[in-house]
């Protein structure tokens, strides 16, 4: 029976809400499982739907319900928002936004920003966009050229916009904005250009900058309080101390020190804190930047109102492998392994370690490999929080004329930005992973903007002595730090996952399929028909007129399409057929289509 799905909070959205009201509006929309009101599903980034209409016994009857082409043939990351009777979807550059009537799939309104195409060569890894946010009756779009735009959700008219950064100095954006409380949060990209990263909060109401916290430099730039911003030290939390960042760089290197922030953010309203990870220490050679290079490659907790750093934890001090730490930081609750009830967070880092921290204090609880192939470090010392680097996989320790062979993971990490999902029922995380290693040549001439210099290059290949494929989809126990089951995949699993309250997980593949997994059994129970193009988008779910839908953007690209292909092409003559880029080329070409599935009537 068709149920008219009214949008109950329209009246609230029209008035100018206070901070508490703005938050309540969004929280209420998120709590209604008919919606998918935030880029990560909810503030905790669970990517979980409470809907159960699609379940283990009928999932194999899923069919294509409707589809929508964005008209753009580039990598499509992120996923659609659904609020009430409207679906909002974005595209890769030029970052179009469509509001679609769910009743008949017609376009309610469309917004196409005018962006200077000279921003394209400033983007390292394909011109992706990770999606929209909603808050206070507005749809938020973070454009590639760093303009943050608020559109009226009903009409698509621009309400305000603000320049978050400047492409002229190498700054661009690919991340989705996030709405927490009365603010919109966004970051910045451009580590390859030497951009010093930050997270910024803008007023949801008018786009004015509320605060900006940098990743490195003077304490005041980072919004770090030397006495009350804490870090995990010798088994417990201790203040970071004065100049915690400056002390770990040579001279003014920190000014172009990296630490970009292009991933996903989460929020705990009770703690009034937002959480995220940041990226690598920019374009300086490891040899030129001895020391930890704080605070690159770190997990952060900041006060939502002031931006002040509550705590920070550096995962990969003195990075030598490009293990950007920007991956998502989903929040969850439960008992730690000693039976103590805690508010926790999980983080599946590029460096191959799955971390669990106490999100209130910043204490390290778990750090274990979420791919058995990981070898650059033996383990993380649970007292110092520091990874124990294996000398032969340290490009720096080996010296610059030595090839370091067989380092796992490759630079694209055991997981890149593609986000994991949480299953509150089983307490497991469902994690899309890369199973790729690299030979790292540190003595390779690079040539940038007309100048040659000694850099590095790498050749990637499937993790050896394994199933021969380049990916796994795993179930992960965040309390024990263990892989519970692992589904091998031919290619890296570059799509974001979804979990359902009916015990299913969904993920998309680079060879252009959508798959459903029985979370308990750890087995694939449904594979979609061939999709228009490989999947690097995130799977979302919503309900409309009594029917549950599962939707995902297809359209290969991102670093999966480029970096992997570029990294593998050099060796393609010698590489085995399985997993090589030649194989990937068999499965399709470019695309840009939203695929929506549902059960037949």
């Amino acid at each position: 029976m068709a149920v008219k799905n009214l949008w109950p909070v329209v009246a609230l959205a029209v008035a100018a809400p206070s901070a508490a009201l703005a938050n309540a509006d969004l929280a209420k929309l998120m709590a209604d499982s008919k919606n998918w009101a935030a880029p990560a599903g909810n503030f905790s980034n669970h990517r979980h739907t409470k809907l159960t209409q699609i379940n283990k016994s009928n999932v194999n009857k899923l069919q294509v319900a409707w589809t929508f082409s964005t008209g753009v043939l580039r990598g499509h990351e992120g996923g659609p928002l659904v609020i009430g009777d409207t679906l909002y979807v974005h595209s890769a550059f030029p970052n179009k936004v469509f509001a679609i009537n769910l009743a008949d799939q017609t376009i309610k309104w469309k917004y196409e920003p005018k962006q200077d195409p000279s921003v394209i060569p400033v983007m390292c890894c394909d011109t992706v966009n990770r999606g929209l946010a909603y808050g206070d009756g507005k749809i938020l779009l973070q454009q590639a050229d760093t303009t943050l735009v608020a559109l009226d959700a009903k009409t698509g008219k621009k309400v305000w916009d603000v320049k978050n950064g400047d492409p002229k100095v190498g700054q661009t954006n690919t991340n989705a904005p996030h709405v927490f409380k009365d603010k919109v949060f966004t970051g910045i990209s451009g580590g390859e250009f030497g951009v010093r990263g930050w997270v910024a909060a803008y007023n949801l109401k008018d786009g004015k900058l509320a605060w900006k916290g940098y990743s490195m430099g003077p304490d005041s730039d980072m919004l770090m309080d030397p006495n009350t911003s804490m870090t995990f030290t010798d088994g417990k939390m201790a203040p970071v101390g004065k100049d915690s960042s400056l002390k770990t760089w040579q001279g003014d290197q920190w000014k172009i020190g990296g630490g970009t922030t292009w991933g996903w953010y989460s929020y705990d309203p009770e703690l009034n804190a937002m959480f995220y990870g940041n990226g690598n220490p920019s374009t300086w050679n490891p040899k030129q930047r001895p020391g930890d290079n704080k605070w690159s490659m770190s997990l952060w907790s900041r006060d939502v109102d002031s931006g002040k750093v509550n705590w920070v934890y550096q995962m990969t001090p003195h990075d030598e492998w490009d293990f950007d730490g920007i991956n998502e930081v989903p929040l969850f609750e439960g008992k730690d392994k000693n039976g103590k009830e805690r508010k926790m967070l999980a983080h599946f880092d590029r460096n191959g370690f799955g971390y669990t921290l106490d999100r209130k204090t910043g204490e390290l609880l778990v750090a274990e490999k979420f791919d058995p192939a990981v070898n650059w470090a033996t383990h993380v010392d649970m007292k110092t929080g520091r990874p124990q680097v294996v000398a032969k996989y340290s490009t720096h320790q080996n010296g610059e004329d030595v090839n370091s062979k067989g380092i796992c993971p490759a630079a694209l990490g055991t997981k890149d930005q593609q986000p994991a999902a949480y299953d509150p029922v089983s307490g497991l995380f469902l994690v899309p992973t890369n199973h790729v290693c690299m030979d790292y040549e540190p003595f390779r001439v690079e040539y940038t903007a007309g100048q040659p210099y000694v850099g590095a290059t790498l050749a990637m290949f499937p993790a050896p002595n394994s199933h021969g494929g380049m990916g796994n989809f795993i179930g992960w126990d965040p309390i024990k730090g263990k892989i519970v089951w692992s589904i091998p995949e031919k290619f890296s699993v570059w799509s974001g996952a979804l979990t359902t309250a009916s015990g299913l997980a969904f993920y998309g593949t680079l060879d252009a399929r959508l798959k459903a997994v029985d979370i308990k059994a750890g087995k694939v129970v449904w594979t979609s028909p061939k999709l228009p193009s490989g999947v690097i988008g995130n799977v979302h779910s919503w309900e409309f007129q009594g029917k549950q839908y599962v939707g995902v953007l297809t359209g290969i690209g991102g670093w999966a399409g480029i970096g992997m292909a570029a990294g593998l092409e050099k060796d393609s003559d010698g590489l085995g057929a399985v997993g090589g880029y030649k194989e990937l080329a068999k499965y399709g070409d470019l695309g840009g289509t939203l695929m929506v599935f549902a059960l037949a009537n």
Partner: protein, 297 residues
Amino acid sequence: MKTIASTLAGAVFTAAALVAPQAQAATAQEKGILRVCADPNSMPFSNQAGEGLENRIAEMMAKDFGWKVEFFFFPQRMAFFRNSLKAKAADGEEGYKCDLATSSAPEAEGAVATKTYYTSTWTMVMPAGKGLDAIRQPDDLLKLPKDQLAKLRFGVFPASPGADWVLRNGFDKQMVPFQQMLGDPNSYPGQMVDVSLVKGDIDVAFIWGPIGSYHARQSKAVKLRVVPMVPDAETVTDFSIAMAVRYREPEWKAKVEDFLTRRKADIDKVMADYGVPLVQTDGSVLVNGERFDRPRK
């Protein structure tokens, strides 16, 4: 100054990197057109007006083949080969946006480098008449009076031998970092010389020789000197530059390399015209007719 926005309007990422290129002659070459992938704003190498040394050599090559020359411009900063050499030509046309990159590292990533066609070195560029005129190699700076040395500000690019030298000798507090590349299409690394050094924001610019020498020669108001760096066991300063073609086009590569070999003397003359510091077989460097010996350490 013409910006490069117009040339980028058509730059669409394609699946070129994903699809295995077929071993076929590109249609432009069959038509007798030399399509060159070049930077629109990278003097002395290339600019949209065709005034760079790579533009000159490309014209020489086309004439040698009896072909026409066309330039496809894209900044040689990020994702260059992907967006030029390996990008499919516009809809309706066969082949790629361009078929030859006139500069490349000797082992290109994502393309195949030809043999190299010149070897230059990183240099220091300094204003004349400011107490640095006796400097003939970086380590000479260490012999300056301490208080003079302590006041010098060194412009460096990350990952460069200049940064290596400055940091190795403990001058991190005197180091002024410059970004290797900016997003502004009107920016260029030479601004370290013709803006920052000329203005006096830095005292020594550590920059790749051809760029340093070009801007030094252009600087009329402030007289600038160019001094080569010296390689040692820890620091590479000398680099050879090649051209690049796509994978699996061995005949095209051979044709380009044949030109580079046959016309070496003419190419060397172009280098001299642009004041490119050239490393000699004995390790010395010729900079605008001045010879700098660099005894092996």
